[in-house]
């Protein structure tokens, strides 16, 4: 076929094509946005955990999520350290505190995360570097992202945590996600002074690092074998999956965002069909002419599907640019990790083409009915 008919159809009426492409583009943007929001639920549920370095974690059988963790006896950490393959087993204390906004004096709650500054518990480079400063009592490391709601946050700032003077000795920038509006990192000793119902012997979580070269599952099996039933041993991904499950399946926010994804695909699909169907209708005369000239229906259907694919591809390109821009803006405004992944890019691309082709296929039934005698 020397004439690229599908391409000619697409490029023939520029304005009309532009309008159709805009529609396709918005439908794809809608899918990208809703998927991006849904993905944020997964990422934002574990942002507090991202700050820490661990391969395995010891949790209480009562563990619900990081802010309702229950506790395990500190002795379990000593027992864990004695096992082969365990590089470190560090306590993490989690308690609720009230931070005094240094500018307004208003108090606002946030989780306090207590760690032993000598333990290799941190993952973020800034925290690893600043951790030794926590040796001084009543000092804290704060996330600068907290500034929006908790007043100025900078190194050297003195404010109050749980009605006690606390000095910010270091800052970092990461974000706290859905689990909290902000968080503050203190030493275990400071936390025990601040939180009235915390006890040194009751650890919220035990963070276990495995020696390089040792299979994590071997160490996990050893821990499970040697520790009593008052602790559960989870892999890092088990803990992450637990937190995500809580926000994705139980909290309304995950359910709402998932409904949004379903809606985007439903509406997106129907919109694509509507647009392609209109396109076919617009070219019905030409198709009828071609049939009168002797072209087979199969050929015309193929042209329609080609055209649909072209629409999908041409709509996809600006949609990706627009979606990336909106990810950037929303990520910046909400300080949540809106990021494009290769999987989502490929998935939406394949799906858009498939939806357009399917819509084209349905719409092309009209072509079969195009009767030259009727049209002229």
């Amino acid at each position: 076929m020397p004439t690229p008919l599908a391409w000619r159809n697409v490029t023939h009426k520029k304005v009309r094509t532009a309008a159709a492409l805009t529609g396709v583009c918005f439908a794809i943007v809608l899918m990208f946005m809703q998927l991006g929001f849904y993905d944020v639920v997964f990422r934002a549920s574990i942002m507090l955990l991202d700050q820490f370095a661990f391969d395995l974690v010891l949790v209480s059988p009562q563990y619900v999520h990081l802010r309702a963790s229950g506790s395990i006896p500190r002795a379990r950490l000593f027992q864990a350290r004695a096992l082969p393959g365990v590089a470190s087993a560090s306590p993490l204390y989690v308690a609720n505190g009230a931070w005094r906004n240094a500018a307004t004096g208003a108090r606002r709650e946030l989780p306090m995360l207590g760690v032993d500054p000598d333990e290799p518990a941190f993952a973020l480079p800034a925290l690893v570097k600043e951790a030794p400063r926590l040796h001084e009592l009543d000092t804290a490391l704060m996330d600068v992202h907290a500034q929006k709601r908790y007043g100025p946050i900078h190194e050297g700032l003195v404010s109050e945590l749980e009605n006690r003077r606390v000095k910010v000795v270091g800052t970092y920038a990461y974000g706290s996600g859905f689990m909290a509006d902000a968080s503050v990192i203190v030493s275990d000793r400071t936390l025990l002074r601040l939180a009235h119902d915390a006890s040194r012997e009751n650890v919220s979580l035990g963070l276990v690092r495995v020696l390089p070269g040792t299979p994590v599952k071997d160490v996990m099996a050893a821990l499970q074998q040697h520790l009593p039933a008052d602790v559960k041993v989870w892999r890092r991904r088990d803990l992450e999956a637990n937190e995500q499950k809580f926000f994705v399946q139980i909290k309304p926010i995950g359910l709402m965002f998932f409904s949004g994804v379903l809606l985007a695909f439903g509406v997106g699909g129907i919109i694509l069909y509507q647009i392609l169907s209109a396109e076919v209708t617009n070219h019905l005369k030409e198709f009828a002419t071609l049939m009168a000239m002797g072209y087979k229906e199969r050929f015309l259907v193929l042209v329609v599907i080609q055209q649909a694919t072209l629409f999908a591809l041409l709509g996809f390109a600006p949609a990706v640019v627009l979606a990336l821009f909106m990810y950037l803006v929303i990520g910046w405004v909400t300080q949540l990790p809106m990021v494009m992944t290769v999987g989502r890019f490929a998935g939406v691309l394949v799906l858009s083409v498939a939806m357009c082709a399917a819509a084209g296929l349905i719409a092309s039934r009209k072509v079969g009915r195009a009767d030259p005698a009727d049209l002229f």
């Binding site: 304005v15 009309r16 309008a19 159709a20 805009t22 529609g23 918005f26 439908a27 943007v29 809608l30 946005m33 809703q34 929001f37 944020v40 009562q62 619900v64 802010r67 309702a68 229950g70 609720n96 208003a106 108090r107 606002r108 709650e109 709601r149 859905f178 509006d181 009235h196 119902d197 139980i250 909290k251 309304p252 926010i253 359910l255 709402m256 965002f257 409904s259 949004g260 809606l263 439903g266 509406v267 129907i270 919109i271 509507q274 647009i275 169907s277 209109a278 209708t281 617009n282 909106m326 929303i330 405004v333 909400t334 949540l336």
Partner: protein
């Protein structure tokens, strides 16, 4: 200006081809649904959190000056309540205590425990506007009894009167249920008497109980007293650490807390904008295609001597039919979808007149905007060229 011609031309254009009509309306309908659902989620988020305030039996609320929402907790000294009592216009002032971070309900079904918001109040006083609570409250006068939220998340186990559970390590008996439902922060709520509350949550730090700290002060006025004047009187006797608010004002605070601190406002706002834009392009495509197909007719109309304003009116009128038709279909489907979403997400999805009006206006705007863009094609129609 909007004078009718003898022939309802716009209507004829609109309803000419049944197949095309259905396709066009479907496009607009789905844009309408998209806007409705996104707006429903946004409002649902707010309604979810202000519902609690709506159910408090009070004319004025006394809260900590820093308090932004029901949760996070921000207690204030109980003596503020005593300062309020006896002020002119005040009939009564009751305290409501709350605990969230340290309160867990352990169910007897599988022994699992989950955080639950526990509220403590005087069961002999009317504090909630929930009939079930009013009916069951007298039973709370027995120590270590609790009323639990029948609409709370399933993981709390069986919630029936006569059952037992454990709240923060202490056995309690369930003496009734009431319908409240979870919100974004709280998965379930339990109501106890003040006495039980203090049994459950002693303050470890001071060795005393939490007796001096309350979360809400519920102020009721004597009949005929002015809310504004009473409020001014209260503000003049109370120190800076508490604030006197109407229920509506506190609900506004809650909305601004949830709107700004969580990304949800932006998320659903973006969804609405995208829905609107999709609607505009769909409408445009429909109208443009319609104009294209009827180009000879438009040219004829112009040749007869009708002016551009007439053409604009014609296309806008057609667009409005599209908008009204699409809105009607969208509204029916939305009512259905809202019902499903409410069950699935436990977020209240209310279809109020005001919200319907807002989407209706947006839909019409969407159609008119696209009509004004599309009509240029008809205006350009040159009778000499068309034939």
């Amino acid at each position: 200006m909007w004078r009718r011609t003898t022939t309802p031309l716009a209507w004829r254009n609109f309803s000419h081809s049944r197949a095309r009509l259905v396709g066009s309306l479907a496009g607009v309908t789905f844009a309408v649904i998209l806007m409705f659902v996104e707006m429903g989620f946004l409002n649902g988020l707010y309604d979810n959190h202000t519902r609690f305030v709506d159910l408090l039996d009070a004319d004025l609320l006394l809260v900590n000056a820093d308090k932004e929402a029901v949760i996070p907790l921000q207690p204030f000294p109980r003596r503020r309540l005593l300062q309020v009592r006896g002020q002119p216009g005040v009939a009564s002032a009751y305290g409501l205590r709350a605990e969230e971070m340290h309160s867990f309900l352990k169910n007897d079904r599988d022994g699992s425990q989950y955080p639950m918001m526990i509220l403590g109040f005087d069961p002999t006083e009317r504090v909630f506007l929930i009939p079930e609570v009013a009916a069951a409250a007298p039973r709370l006068t027995v120590a270590d009894t609790v009323l639990v939220d029948s609409r709370a998340k399933d993981f709390y186990g069986d919630r029936v009167a006569g059952g037992e559970a454990e709240v923060s390590g202490r056995r309690v008996r369930i003496v009734g249920t009431f319908p409240l439902g979870p919100d974004f922060r709280v998965d379930g709520t339990g109501l106890v008497s003040e006495r039980t509350f203090l049994n459950l949550f002693p303050d470890h730090r001071t060795g005393e109980t939490t007796v001096d700290r309350i979360e809400f002060g519920l102020v009721k006025l004597v009949p005929g007293a002015s809310v504004r004047e009473t409020r001014r009187a209260l503000e003049s006797v109370l120190p800076e650490d508490v604030r006197v608010l109407t229920k509506a004002e506190f609900s506004d605070r809650i909305r601004s807390y949830w709107g700004a601190s969580k990304p949800v406002g932006y998320v659903f706002g973006t969804g609405m904008v995208v829905g609107f834009l999709i609607g505009v392009t769909i409408c445009y495509q429909i109208l443009y295609t319609g104009i294209l197909d009827h180009l000879p007719q438009y040219a004829t109309i112009k040749a007869i001597g009708y002016d551009d304003a007439y053409l604009i009116r014609l296309v806008v009128e057609e667009a409005l039919y599209l908008g009204v038709g699409g809105f009607a279909g969208g509204l029916v489907l939305t009512a259905l979808i809202y019902g499903l979403l409410e069950v699935y997400t436990s977020v209240p999805m209310h279809l109020t007149i005001l919200r319907m009006a807002a989407v209706f206006v947006l839909t019409l705007a969407m159609c008119v905007v696209s009509a004004l863009i599309a009509v240029r094609k008809a205006i350009e129609a040159d009778p000499a060229e068309v034939f």
